[in-house]
Symmetry: C2
Amino acid sequence: MIHFMKMAFAAEVARPVAGQVSCAACGLGQLCRAETQDGGGDASSVHQRRLQPGERLFEAGTPQSALYAVHAGFLKTCRPLQAGSSQVVGLHIMGDVLGLDGISSRVHATDAVALTSGEVCVIALVHADRLMERDHTSGARLRALLSEHVARAGDQFVTLGSLSAQQRVAAFLLDMSDRWAARGYSATIFDLCMTRKDIGSYLGLTFETVSRMLSDFRDLRWLRVDGRRVELLDRAAIERTLGTIPRR
Amino acid sequence: MIHFMKMAFAAEVARPVAGQVSCAACGLGQLCRAETQDGGGDASSVHQRRLQPGERLFEAGTPQSALYAVHAGFLKTCRPLQAGSSQVVGLHIMGDVLGLDGISSRVHATDAVALTSGEVCVIALVHADRLMERDHTSGARLRALLSEHVARAGDQFVTLGSLSAQQRVAAFLLDMSDRWAARGYSATIFDLCMTRKDIGSYLGLTFETVSRMLSDFRDLRWLRVDGRRVELLDRAAIERTLGTIPRR
DNA sequence: CGTGTTGTTGAATACTGTCAACCTTCGTGG
DNA sequence: CCACGAAGGTTGACAGTATTCAACAACACG
């Protein structure tokens, strides 16, 4: 899936500005750390899991027994449609939390697939429940996470519902840039780590359209593209395309 | 906004099959009821608020101080874009909870506008916080609500990202039907309570396209339309249009 | 060195948006 | 009371964007 060359690039790009992103920056915060102070937890309640590119962390429709915090790597979550097709509904890098959509139903609503090799922290739901019964700050933290997800979904609604193809790709690039930057990585040079098809699925476009838009941006000197590697050259110009949003 | 005739219609249609939908069916569940058992709560911590059609319950960007449970009526939430335009991102009827996207930021991410007259229960956030510190089942209930919202957002991603105009309108009608049915109302005859423009904004379409699709469905004898009043005549046919989902 | 996957680009099509005309309803005010 | 304008809704004609279909290149893999 992921080429060796690209991985080497990624490793180079992924050098953090302010040291390695640690558990302190993780979305789950104390939900995991308090766990270790717990003492009563069995060894299996919180553990790490390594992922190979293309490996499935969990599958839609299967019982959900844990929350997952991305410690390293890049994952996508896909909602299955029918006849084997699916739509990418989430992209997750270090610090992101997966499994929030199955907390109440205890069934995974999506497939989670690793786009690169990586590592996730696995927090058993029963353990999280037990913890939150005792420590209300953990529960509040999880609610805050969930609330942020709900708010972020609104942005995606706007992207899918109100933006042109060019604007969607622009929004996607800026979002990726911001997310990498927030974790101490370069805001201008980063690896998309996924196919044009994945990007298109995430943005409600065909992969040809995504390819065309990236080529357009390249021709406009707004960025450089080399496969999945992107370098933003004129962020202001890309932001400007979002300046005139309204279509309906 | 809402015509007198339509209101009369709505009152007729809205006669519940199994009695009036009570607090027992409310999304907030005990979060509100436990409140009353609390004893220590001041009078302003939980109260009702009546809404006129077109009235604004809260506004994006303003501080959020409460959660809102719809007791009666129909509201929309809109995310402001720019230059005064906005996109409808949520439609809410009795039992639904509003304000979930601002729990962590304590700032409203959307405008909430009443589409009909109605009534909401207002639960102060500070009070909810206090309650959840003591009663962990309330916190769990709120987390479950949030989790369901995250899962439901995935459905909307699919609607906006993978469906044709016809399919989006079909999905919208079926969703409305299911939601009314879940609350004991007719699954076949209901009032949309909103303009074609609102529907289009919610579905990522223009109002003309929405109007055309409804006319198409009418011509196909799949439903009857009278302004905002809809009667589904051939639910199976409408569902069938969703049968062949994949576009990309 | 073939084969499959990914990505790019071109040409033609189709869907949806845009613009416009017209109708109905409602509210306002002469 | 009726005229008027505003808002919502429908429908038609046309335009434009994004999809579809197709060919081709680059690259990894066995």
